[in-house]
């Protein structure tokens, strides 16, 4: 695994509104994401995870600070930073295949290559049989897989995901997590993913960036040493690993510590 810095978040602050209505969402957040690393943003609800991800995507501008991808400061949304949302975004008027080709079409990828790449990524997310199906006939998990394939087929430098499995039921959710692990193994990608599901974070992450709430500040960066160098493919394997319970307990304690002051208000 190459270990050069892919993306760096430098002193990002973000506030909304003015005067009395001013809400400070993020305060001085800095961290790096390495090449091919999966960086999970974790933290209590409302701590600014989505805001930070939107800033990385270029959908929002930081009030102070900058985000640098491959040595270039980002300015607005671009193909290099493809995003998958919690809401289903597979376009209903396009078939699965057309959805996956969509991003490549925007970027003028020639038809032959487009079709080849689309079928590769459709296979990767196990939707081969549904190539010609419209999203209306797909389940929530399948729609999410379309969105993931569409973004990956567009070859982003970093894949951004905001609670991509948040709307799915528990079983579909771990299927999706295992599929994502599989994808990460086969196609090298740098990923930044937001979740508030602790086992999901531990399962997927190489590094967890934990934000505290109101305003969102960097509270801890967790390296997950206990699973370093191990080839974990399913959840049972993870849960039975030495060090997993401690890790989960530590994160839970941090979550609780953050949630408490909020309860008082």
């Amino acid at each position: 695994m190459a270990s050069h810095v892919k993306l760096s978040v430098n002193g990002v602050c973000k506030s909304f509104g003015h005067g009395a209505h001013r809400v400070e969402a993020l305060r001085d957040v800095s961290f790096n994401v390495l090449q091919n690393e999966v960086c999970v943003l974790l933290g209590p609800s409302g701590c600014g995870k989505s805001t930070l991800l939107n800033i990385v995507a270029g959908l929002q501008d930081p009030t102070v600070g900058s985000v640098v991808l491959d040595g270039t400061e980002i300015d607005g949304p671009a193909r290099e930073r493809g995003m998958v949302f919690q809401s289903y975004t597979s376009f209903p008027w396009l078939t699965v295949e057309q959805n996956v080709e969509y991003g490549m079409k925007l970027n003028g990828v020639p038809k032959a290559e487009r079709m080849e790449r689309a079928s590769h990524f459709i296979d990767l997310v196990h939707l081969t049989k549904f190539r010609k199906t419209y999203p209306k006939n797909l389940s929530g998990g399948m729609k999410q897989r379309v969105a993931i394939a569409r973004t990956l087929a567009n070859r982003p430098e970093i894949l951004l995901m905001d609670e991509p499995f948040g709307a799915l039921d528990a079983e579909t959710r771990w299927h999706m997590q295992e599929m994502l692990i599989e994808i990460m193994k086969s196609s090298q990608t740098t990923i930044m993913l937001v979740t508030h599901d602790i086992p999901e974070a531990i399962f997927l992450a190489d590094k967890i960036v934990f934000l505290s709430s109101h305003p969102g500040r960097l509270k801890a960066i967790l390296g997950l040493e206990f699973k370093k160098g191990k080839d974990i493919r399913d959840k049972e394997e993870l849960i039975t690993l030495d060090g997993y319970p401690e890790c989960e307990r530590d994160i839970l304690a941090m979550m609780r510590a953050e949630a408490r002051p909020q309860d008082a208000t």
Binding site: L59, P77, G82, F85, S87, W93, L106, N107, K136, N137
Partner: protein, 291 residues
């Protein structure tokens, strides 16, 4: 009609009373049940029943001589008047003229409202510029412009087209703007993070996402168009369905007036049906089980 409801109904139908030994007694189907579906056969029967009652009441009123024969002809007389109108009084020409007025004016209104509504719904700057104008015009009743239009354009076709155009274009624009605004923001955000520029996003996401609702808005406003057609043709016209009805009034041909009403109703239903069918075909992907 959700999946859960329809399957619950199927089970309901399939299970005979005896097949429920000792269990909870099957709930009786009530005539009036909030928001619950009724069988297709039932809804067709009710739909026919209302018309049978309508015509029955009409015949009854005529038979009882509730009103003068001239003022209240029976359904049979109206039908024969309709036949005579088409065979002897070149009513077909009036119908063609009226339909042409509707189609031309509505096409012009769409030509303005569709692009304007989409742009207003997409860009706040465009909305801020046009909305004060569109809102103000929307609240002005189009018939208020008839005297002005008559002075500017005379009792011409152009005057009628202008009235029909003014009658629908503002509402249509507003409806299309609202439908465009309700295109999910995450669709747009997805497209821009895939590298789409503004024109691409507008063309490949906003327009296709809003189109099904835009067609629904058109269907609604086409119905309104018919209202203004009758107003336009009653006031100053030589040809058209409304003009025929005013001619008939002069000669106390109530049966012909009623025949005119029937034709307007039938045409309105036909257009509505055609647009609905077209919606189903053009946006088949919105239905389940379309591959």
């Amino acid at each position: 009609m959700t999946l859960a409801e329809s399957s619950a109904e199927d089970i309901d139908k399939a299970a005979p009373r005896t097949a429920n030994p000792g269990g909870a007694r099957r709930r009786k189907r009530r005539l009036f049940e909030f928001k619950s579906d009724i069988p297709a056969s039932w809804s067709i029967t009710l739909g026919i029943l209302v018309w049978v009652l309508f015509f029955g009441f009409w015949e009854f009123a005529v038979w009882q001589n509730w009103a003068n024969d001239i003022l209240l002809p029976g359904p049979g007389k109206v039908l024969s008047a309709l036949y005579t109108l088409f065979t002897e009084e070149s009513f077909l020409y009036d119908v063609v003229v009226s339909v042409t007025r509707i189609l031309v004016s509505f096409a012009l209104a769409c030509l303005v409202a569709v692009p304007l509504g989409i742009l207003m719904g997409s860009f706040r700057t465009v909305e801020a510029f046009f909305n004060p104008l569109v809102s103000a015009w929307r609240y002005l009743p189009a018939p208020a412009f008839i005297p002005l239009l008559l002075m500017w354009l005379g009792a011409s076709d152009a005057q009628k087209l202008a009235l029909l155009f003014l009658g629908v274009v503002w509402f249509l624009t507003t409806l299309i703007m609202d439908h465009t605004k309700s295109v999910p923001a995450d669709f747009v955000r997805t497209a821009v993070t895939l590298g789409g520029n503004r024109l691409q996003v507008l063309r490949t996401v906003v327009v296709p996402a809003a189109l099904p609702d835009i067609l629904v808005a058109m269907r609604q406003m086409l119905a309104v168009s018919w209202t203004y057609l009758v107003i336009a043709e009653i006031i100053a016209a030589d040809v058209g369905i409304g003009a025929m009805m005013m001619r008939a009034k002069r000669f106390l041909h109530v049966d012909q007036i009623m025949a005119g009403i029937v034709v307007i109703g039938a045409l309105g239903l036909l257009f509505d049906f055609l647009l609905k069918k077209f919606h189903g075909i053009a946006f088949a992907y919105l239905e389940e089980n379309v591959r």
